[in-house]
């Protein structure tokens, strides 16, 4: 099976869905350019080249460049969705959500509920998350916890190319609004990706690695760090079970609880900040539903409660890494009441 990068996988998912369904459109800042165009259109194909080449095949009626105004992008896409198109809007960096949050929080997320199920909102918002590129405090956050907190939004946080393609196709075919969070530093990560289209159901976690000693839940880029930590720990005789939830809303609680009931020990790795985050949320759910199974306190490995630093040295310290994950697992593993 061919190896493809996450960037290729997402591009392929968009192209295949646009071929399959003429209602699918792409709308956002600088989404048009790149291969297949000339002159002034020769932009990047998105700031990191993910939509490159689409305008050549689908034209400017379906690949729509917008002015720099997130409220207009999301507002236009929301209107298009409720009137019969299936827009894939691009909110370049998730950090910009403040500009358009009313559209998501009070409009898109509420339509189906407030219109008694008579309205569908098949909108996908693709947005970049994550630190590690030296992009500073306003372009590096991982804010999926804010979307996850809103009933009516589905939230996808893929960790690899295979999942990204299948989850994005599911997002586009889904009749509800989906926030699709792409970590900037997994775009070049490769995995086996079928050429054919496929869907991965929401709310189904991936078990990345089997183990009986400690459950490690990790999201997005943190999955590869958790795998590196697990390899180190296996040589010390500690077997981690790594769970990648893939979607934070809906969340596959069953898989998490089943695993914790077996291991009794849980470490949650989340690149976002610790207060009111996904790690805190999962921790609360596990304490409510599997308290009796826990043999040690749950540990969270997250960023600190600070803005993302611009200084490269501080940014490196800010992001959870394999060493910190391994330390947390060791502490959890040796804990005895």
């Amino acid at each position: 099976m061919p190896l493809k990068s996450t960037r290729q996988a997402i591009n392929e998912a968009l192209a295949q869905e646009m071929r399959r369904d003429p209602r699918v459109i792409v709308i956002g800042e600088d989404v048009s350019g790149g291969a297949g165009t000339d002159g002034q259109r020769d932009a990047y194909g998105g700031v990191l080249g993910v939509t490159k080449g689409l305008i050549g095949e689908f034209g400017d009626r379906r690949i729509i460049d917008t002015p720099i105004t997130e409220s207009a992008i999301i507002g236009a896409a929301a209107g298009a969705a409720v009137t019969g198109l299936r827009p894939v809007a691009e909110l370049m960096f998730c950090d910009f959500l403040g500009v358009c949050f009313d559209q998501l929080l009070n409009q898109v997320a509420k339509f189906r509920y407030m219109f008694g199920g008579k309205v569908k909102t098949p909108l996908v918002v693709r947005t970049m998350i994550g630190a590690g590129r030296g992009a500073a405090a306003q372009h590096s956050q991982s804010l999926y916890q804010l979307f996850t907190a809103v009933p009516g939004l589905k939230v996808v946080v893929p960790s690899n190319a295979y999942d990204a393609k299948g989850l994005l196709i599911q997002a586009i075919r889904d009749d509800d609004p989906v926030i699709f969070c792409e970590h900037k530093l997994i775009y070049d990560l490769k995995s086996e990706v079928p050429d054919e289209a496929y869907r991965i159901a929401f709310g189904e976690a991936n078990i990345v690695r089997d183990g009986d000693d400690v459950t490690v839940i990790a999201l997005a880029r943190m999955v590869q760090f958790a795998e590196a930590a697990a390899t180190t720990l296996a040589s010390e005789g500690i077997e981690c079970e790594i769970i990648d939830p893939r979607t934070t809303s809906p969340l596959d609680v069953d898989t998490i609880i089943e695993s914790v009931e077996r291991t009794g020990r849980l470490v949650i790795v989340d690149e976002s900040t610790p207060r009111c985050g996904v790690a805190a949320d999962i921790s609360a759910i596990v304490v409510e539903q599997a308290f009796g199974a826990l043999k040690a306190p749950i540990r969270r490995v997250t960023a600190p409660h600070t803005p993302v630093p611009f200084s490269p040295n501080l940014e490196k310290l800010y992001i959870p890494d394999a060493g910190r994950i391994a330390d947390a697992v060791r502490q959890t593993h040796v804990f005895r009441r």
Partner: protein
């Protein structure tokens, strides 16, 4: 080979195997053994299988202890004449260098070895191994793919051409199956043989694939040298309705794991990778529709609608029927409808004897072929 010593190495079973785990040794050090005797158990990401001694002699040295996980090609043991000294064995082990899998027997099972053929207007994926003789053609069952022959094909490929194919709607083949009925599937198999330049073959089919192979034998008896039917469909009315309907529907890991547990005698040996592979297949566009169409044509309302028993009995082709005693998908009683066939019921096997009891099934196929 030095002093008649033979290296026993981690085999490559199937397209995706890169390493295996030594579960345990079935022979002791310095124990004499004959070629073909069971030597050790190896756990793959799919299922555990027994490896046989490729040569006779004395088990001079066990290099890989139980519990070790090693890459394909790694040295597991040394077999040789009883009189070879321990010093010679020692230097053989020391000097042993891992042979790249593609240079080994049966190693044509790599990704590159699959190719596509055009059959009856559909693109089918095939995996070929070995050369010579009347080819053996392996036809998998409902929802499976050519990987289900991973243990059998390398064995049969010694000195013989073998072809495993993905049926329409399955594996790497076109997912569009039309009605998926007997005529369509038989035409696809016939088309594949034609595209491969095979005018006569030993056909081996499992479950749905058995019925398709039998159907081809009925329509074109001259093109079939022998017919081996493993837990075959098409021989009676019964089939596990909840398995078929559940398999068509299943989208979640737990559902798939439970269903795969029904296929084999020891459900505990269903691995996460096995479940993941089925999920990855079932997620592909067109697969649920293909499976639903095939299920509707062959197994609607929990009954098999294709009965080939009477027509097969009249064939003058040698027929062998193999079944697992504990088959929970199609009852082994169905073997009784073929009075003219040689019937083997294997103990401690479910619906997948070619995976659960691969060595025995390989030998039975070998025997059937050599008798013909």
């Amino acid at each position: 080979m030095t002093n008649g010593l033979t290296a026993i190495t981690m085999p490559q079973w199937g397209l995706t195997m890169t390493e295996g785990k030594v579960v345990g040794w079935l022979k002791k050090s310095e124990q004499p053994l004959a070629a073909g005797e069971e030597l050790l158990e190896i756990e793959t990401t799919k299922i555990t299988n027994v490896m046989e001694a490729p040569v006779g002699g004395t088990l001079k040295r066990i290099v890989a202890e139980a519990g070790a996980t090693l890459p394909v090609g790694a040295l597991l043991a040394v077999i040789g004449p009883a009189e070879v000294s321990q010093a010679d064995v020692e230097s053989f082990v020391r000097d042993y260098r891992v042979v790249e899998p593609q240079n080994e027997v049966g190693s044509t099972q790599t990704e590159a070895a699959t190719r596509d053929v055009e059959a009856d207007g559909r693109r089918l994926r095939v995996l070929e191994a070995g050369e010579g003789g009347i080819p053996v053609v392996l036809v998998h069952g409902f929802g499976a793919d050519l990987g289900s022959w991973m243990f059998i094909q390398p064995h049969l490929a010694r000195g013989r051409r073998t072809v495993a194919l993905d049926l329409p709607g399955h594996g790497g083949s076109t997912k569009e199956v039309g009605s998926g009925n007997r005529a369509a599937m038989t035409a696809a198999l016939a088309g594949a043989l034609e595209a491969l330049g095979i005018d006569r073959a030993h056909l081996v089919g499992h479950s749905l694939g058995g019925a398709i192979a039998a159907s081809l034998a009925i329509e074109r008896p001259a093109s079939v040298a022998t017919l081996t039917l493993i837990a075959s469909a098409g021989l009676g009315p019964d089939i596990n309705r909840s398995f078929i309907e559940g398999f068509v529907r299943a989208e979640r890991r737990k559902d798939v794991a439970d269903l795969l547990g029904l296929l084999i005698h020891d459900p505990g040996s269903v691995s996460r990778r096995m479940v993941e592979d089925v999920l990855r297949y079932k997620r592909l566009d067109g697969v649920p529709e293909a499976l639903a169409a095939i299920a509707e044509s062959w197994f609607s309302n929990g009954k098999q609608s294709v009965d080939l028993g009477a027509a097969i009995v009249d064939l003058e082709i040698p027929i062998q029927v193999i079944w697992g005693e504990h088959d929970r998908i199609i009852p082994s009683d169905h073997a009784k409808s073929l009075r003219s066939a040689s019937v083997r019921i294997l103990a401690e096997a479910g619906h997948m004897p070619h995976m659960e009891r691969a060595n025995e099934v390989s030998q039975l196929i070998e025997q059937a072929i050599s008798r013909a």
